[in-house]
Symmetry: C4
Subunit: 246 residues, 4 copies
């Protein structure tokens, strides 16, 4: 596929399965690349979810690999097993039908703040994109999120939050669309990277951004930045031109 973007058509039309593949691959490049780790779920609203398969990395999945599963984690369509960590997502989608997309992984810098159990300051404009309200630190390690009980506790601790650090583990990011989840995942990793850089240099803990700006940005639903998601999609299609074929 040799897609040439125009102002009216920034990317090809995409199915939800293609969107999941593109989200996984573009986030891999952003630092969400911990081997087999990571799940993305997409609530179809009919009692089923799309999700990435277990046993393949985010860098290698293709549209044909995407699963459709029930809210109990049973595979309805697809040839692969369900990710081991899916209980976290099942609990989440059962508790919060408003959430369309959920992303979990162990990104390079997000994981460091989860390890430190501290909040990364939002030091700059790019770090503040995408909204999602206050970042929540879920600091109760009950083993991996692949058992139902600890998944339920994590979802309870999240409350109405949409962005979380899971202490000693990774991050959890929610959104109403793939686009919003992408925006928030990129911004969270930039926030964590830049805050780490400032911290390692012994820089000041307070941000240049005024409180009114931070509050305004935090209220974003993550869907407003036209072109941001599309730029990520085009980079993946340029790297693997036949990615959408199946």
């Amino acid at each position: 596929m040799d897609f040439v973007p125009t102002p009216d058509k920034l990317i090809p039309d995409l199915t939800p399965a293609q969107e999941i593949v593109l989200l996984a691959r573009t986030l891999w490049r952003e630092g969400y690349r911990d081997h087999l780790a990571g799940h993305i779920t997409y609530n179809l609203g009919d009692g089923t979810l799309l999700c990435n398969p277990w046993l393949l990395t985010w860098r290698e999945i293709r549209p044909r690999d995407i699963l459709r599963i029930t809210l109990d984690g049973e595979v309805v369509e697809g040839q692969w097993p369900v990710p081991l960590g899916i209980p976290l997502h099942l609990e989440l989608h059962r508790a919060r039908p408003d959430v369309r997309v959920a992303v979990h992984n162990h990104p390079d810098f997000g994981t460091i703040w989860a390890d430190m159990r501290e909040m990364p300051p939002v030091y700059d404009q790019s770090s503040s994109l995408g909204g999602g309200g206050d970042l929540v630190l879920i600091d109760e390690y009950d083993g991996a999120v692949n058992n139902t009980e600890s998944a339920r506790k994590a979802v309870e601790a999240l409350g109405a939050g949409e962005l979380a650090l899971l202490a000693g583990h990774g991050v959890f990011i929610l959104g109403t669309t793939i686009r919003a989840a992408h925006q928030r995942a990129v911004a969270l990793e930039q926030r964590c990277r830049n805050a780490w850089m400032v911290r390692a240099a012994g820089g000041r803990p307070d941000s240049a951004l005024p409180q009114w700006w931070l509050e305004r940005m935090a209220r974003s639903d993550g869907n407003g930045f036209h072109g941001f998601w599309e730029a990520g999609v085009r980079a993946e299609l340029a790297a693997e031109p036949d990615l959408l074929d199946d």
Copy 2:
């Protein structure tokens, strides 16, 4: 295109639009790679500017994508919208007709010093290249630079400066040519990187470079290093041989 450089002809002849594309792409490799962020304007001196388009990244633009716009931001030639952040550049070019080229972005290390609101020392020769006088810290965050009022304040705070850190945001670099802007953008990022490295290691705050040298270097107009810009151009043409085709 299979260009072979000779001492008399280091790179092919370039139009201003091609120069903008090559500047954007070579700076992307230098760390100016924050997704859709970044604008480059080139004052044609006839009341119009060339600039990169909105909705495409610096890594993917081609000569055909470059816009010509008025000093009020109206598109005269080109199919793409004007970058949202262009008011900063419009204010600048209206206030300072001597400036031919202006570059704004959020580079990897420059942004960290903008986040810390501190001046990176000039620790070495490479960090001192390109001149541009004193680095200015513009520490007034009035929201993004995409509204006219805050753009005007930023231009006022810059005064006659040619290099700035925008607190909580990124950098702003001016020059009389694309070549000069390139030299300064590369040197500023090296300065910020090396100073961060020294700082993270708890190194001394004073530079090995004597004051007379720093002052001499600061007075450079950025055009004197024959071959520096050309080396960056060749690397981009080697990576994408048909880049100049259109």
Copy 3:
């Protein structure tokens, strides 16, 4: 070779020599890439070992380059010399016939903790994978491990350990299979990287992971994570499709 994975067949069938090549190459990507350094031995249980050849890097070896040697280091099959540092492995395999696979190298972050002679905390789930019991610090530098006497001392200091930092030198990782050695080598480098990141940022020294979890994870034999090794193998085969040919 254009291998397409399925749930029943995640990777092609591999000979032990192919496994060694794939282990070396995938670990190179994980940071085990110190030029000519590094050896992998595989105890065939018949008085001979397979090992990588001297004079070729882990990035370039192919199945035809793998040696078979005796427990005294004599080459039985293969055209290359034995690695200079092999005495460490010979001592190890003589003393501990239970160990099938041994890996030594100087990875990016593991070497830093070996240089600091400190234990990297296990800050997160990924860092705790693969087991291998307590990480042992062997802090006696008697010259390189390429003489028998200092190799013997190192093996004695290791005791029944399966994971070690060799002070001022690198790491040593044991396992019952190539798969287990891979899991442990990846996890150890992630542990060392993340702990370095926390340390450089002045983060807390204690881990979020509870003691019971750490102890449970430490008891793993490294073979339980189905698909982890296979994902690494597929990435190498995608990068060099004819790698298994010979």
Copy 4:
């Protein structure tokens, strides 16, 4: 060229000009990649030197680009100008006819210790390779090394040294062969990198390596590690198979 190494023939036969090209390119990958910076001279012993050309980067030069110049810097063979910084090398070769090869550049981590004006401890085995005696800190900045007077002072300050940090500038590495210069340049950058990593993490200042080992290693002439240089050469030839053609 599709060269297949054997134990008797690790690399193709190389001319001195090809060796310079391969040294420049492999060191670029090791962190010696500051744009147009860097010179390599090779004393032919007949009153002339080979050197890399000005105006081309170390990453792009080919054998045909190598110059032959007199000890006064006049070009005898070759189409390119002499590097601006060559006076440092001319002074060196005039003062020390025993030195065959001299390398100057601004590598990623070496430059940081030159900026800090501190000695990086030798923390590990790889950092101690290649010998060259004590690392000398030349802490007199008289402007760039491209004028004869400051070049002479730098050579005097170096004394009989073979490895130097040039404060606020970069590094200077001498050897009797291209192979030795390569070994020393790689080891110096590893030493500087690992020491920076330890320092940024607040690690101990003393090394695990005993004094007798450090002294023994320091006496190496840099030529003894068979296969090390050859591995670097093969990686470059794999990346650009027609590199030796001319």
